[in-house]
Symmetry: C3
Subunit: 139 residues, 3 copies
């Protein structure tokens, strides 16, 4: 069985956000899959998708604090600066973390570890609505 | 054909470890797939999966030495510190390298390059047993 | 429907290169898929695949300039140095960015965002021809 949806996420502020529920709620046919996979692909180049801790929000804070220092906005050799100092770091963070994820599905649920959740990394100051193509495949 | 297993890896010390044989040995039905994909998803947020060199162990040493310096444990702005100084760096490394991989399958084998192997990145000092959900799909 | 090809890319210089057309042109049966996925796996450990901006080439320049500084070639603790100072940084960049990608397919086309393209990251000074196993699956 194949099923594909476009999911539109409400705008988030810069940083990391837990979106597991946004994804699962948009996929009514997840229930029908005993064994399969869910693929998620952001349609953007300045945000990211990653799996990480679903509990303590300090982990999301620290990830953002670390990445802001790892990829500063004012590097003197940057040429792609027309869209502001947050833009090129956002492109770099998108590739370091990735913009697509594939997740195991078992017995109608995402087969994630106890502490795993799906994070949106919003790397722009004002990124606006973000779109994801979600593709379910299984039996 | 779909096939899904939970693979339990014996505890490894901090650093990178070649686990291609652990994965292949746990998948007896890999032989039956002419064309397909294998998806691997760690069930943890402080370890990683990546494809890299399967021969010289110095590559694994250098990767670990580099990442320890890239993400030190004592950054003053970290808030998530209750589980020790190795914990927040482990979360960051897990997202930089990723916790899931999809691999091509051809004629009953993983279609990897001559020098490619599957690495477990153990990013905690005492990470313990790690679990992977392995999902095979193909014909 | 499953379809699998080996794609051989002409040698590129060190840096990032837009290869969306190389991939699509090698997959005549992409047209036949209404809903599906395309998986790409580099057969190498010193190059990478990532999704990023398909328009302004300055983004590719800045990504390369940033990564050269993030992972220098002359780190004193590197042991894997026999193949030259560009080799170990190439292994590290390959794992930071990743060597495999899964992409959504819809109505016979890659379901990418307006600004998304497939990038090859060539991380060696003289990497030569690079091979990709492309696996299409869909209905």
């Amino acid at each position: 069985m194949w099923d594909q949806h476009e999911i539109r996420l409400t705008p988030r502020e810069r940083g990391f956000h837990l979106i597991t529920d946004d994804i699962v709620d948009a996929l009514p046919r997840l229930d029908d899959i005993t064994t399969g996979l869910l693929h998620l692909q952001l349609q953007h180049t300045s945000a990211s998708l990653t799996l990480n801790e679903n509990a303590d929000p300090d982990v999301r804070h620290d990830m953002e604090a670390y990445l802001r220092r790892l990829v500063p906005g004012d590097l003197p050799y940057f040429r792609h600066t027309l869209e502001g100092p947050d833009d090129m770091p956002a492109h770099i963070q998108a590739s370091l973390l990735g913009t697509q994820l594939t997740l195991a599905v078992r017995n109608g649920r995402l087969a994630m570890g106890t502490w795993q959740g799906i994070w949106l990394g919003e790397h722009r100051d004002h990124g606006g609505q973000r779109r994801i193509i979600a593709t379910l495949n299984g039996e």
